[in-house]
């Protein structure tokens, strides 16, 4: 690491520092157009989009107990999505999706991260919506 410092110019170091600050602030204050407040009085919704068309939207509460499997057909085949116990993942991607990035992404359970299958043009995410009920009234 001492050697590495020697190879960097002043501007390299400024660039690295700049990127570090920019990236970390982007992670701490994430860009999420669908973000809602999580916690009391909100309900989690699973949204599945194909291209720019919203295909499916339902409350994740219904996924406790029995896991739910959803098949969505895209340009290169059928993607199988599994929703279970409030979490969601891409269970199976079409064989023509060589990299299977969406399957490797694994489970998501909070608003923010997104499961994306670019070859099949499918994106899956979780939205939090206020239901108007607060925790006390239960």
């Amino acid at each position: 690491m001492k050697d590495l410092w020697h190879y960097l110019t002043r501007n390299d170091k400024i660039l690295i520092l700049f990127l570090l600050v920019l990236s970390l602030s982007g992670i701490l204050f994430p860009f999420n157009p669908f973000q809602g407040k999580t916690g009391e009085g909100t309900e989690m919704f699973l949204v599945i989009q194909k291209g720019n068309q919203e295909e499916i939207r339902f409350g994740l509460e219904s996924t406790y107990g029995e896991p739910l499997y959803i098949e969505v057909e895209g340009p290169i085949g059928i993607s199988i999505i599994e929703a279970s116990n409030g979490k969601v993942r891409m269970k199976e991607a079409p064989p023509d999706d060589l990299e299977k990035t969406c399957v490797k992404t694994g489970w998501i359970e909070n608003p923010g991260p997104m499961i994306i299958c670019i070859p099949n043009q499918i994106s899956i995410w979780i939205e939090a919506e206020e239901t108007g009920l607060d925790g006390v009234s239960w």
């Binding site: 590495l4 190879y7 960097l8 110019t9 002043r10 501007n11 390299d12 660039l15 690295i16 990127l19 570090l20 920019l22 990236s23 970390l24 602030s25 982007g26 992670i27 994430p30 860009f31 999420n32 157009p33 669908f34 989009q49 291209g51 720019n52 060589l98 990299e99 990035t101 969406c102 490797k104 992404t105 694994g106 923010g112 991260p113 997104m114 994306i116 670019i118 070859p119 043009q121 499918i122 994106s123 995410w125």
Partner: protein, 175 residues
């Protein structure tokens, strides 16, 4: 004779780039962030830029993506456009920094710029395909990872290119 040297070097670098691309695909890597990569093939882009110049490097890049996609059977597929878009954006910005600010940034800085703009270009293309702005959630994670991978690629290029002669009439300034 000089031209022969250049053609041979372009051929060698294209094959080296293809090998690096396949080697990278074989390395088992945890998916920290979807779409994140080591970017080993960028070593070849940067070496080509330093040794042969802008046009030579661009030729090598196009040949590598074309042949690579024909091998993998992804020619004109979405993966092909993602590689092309990301790689081209990364290469153009590396060339820009390399030629305009050579005295200010080392090859490490140039390679970090390349990694960042590769990510940006690829995310933009992905955005046009899936039309979902939520994809940019991953941008800060990708730019964060671009720092260590960019440093790695920059160091490898620096040490490799030191032992290789610059092609005469094709080095810096040929743009």
């Amino acid at each position: 004779m000089r031209n022969t040297r250049k053609v041979v070097l372009i051929g060698l670098l294209v094959s080296l780039g293809l090998i690096l691309h396949f080697v990278e695909a074989m390395i088992p890597m945890p998916i920290l962030v979807p779409g994140a990569k080591l970017g080993l093939a960028n070593i070849v882009n940067l070496i080509a830029l330093v040794l042969i110049g802008f046009r030579g490097g661009l030729t090598i890049f196009f040949l590598r993506v074309l042949i690579g996609s024909l091998y993998a059977g992804t020619f004109l597929s979405i993966n092909f456009y993602l590689s092309l878009g990301g790689g081209l954006t990364g290469y153009l910005f590396m060339a820009l920094v390399y030629y305009l600010f050579q005295d200010k940034f080392s090859l490490i800085g140039v390679s970090i710029i390349g990694a960042v703009f590769h990510n940006l270009g690829q995310l933009l293309i992905a955005y046009f395909i899936i039309k979902n702005p939520g994809i940019f959630y991953y941008l800060p994670y990708l730019t964060l990872l671009a720092i260590p991978t960019g440093i790695g690629v920059g160091l490898i290029t620096y040490f490799t290119s030191r032992y290789l002669p610059v092609v005469e009439g094709g080095g810096a300034g040929d743009g």
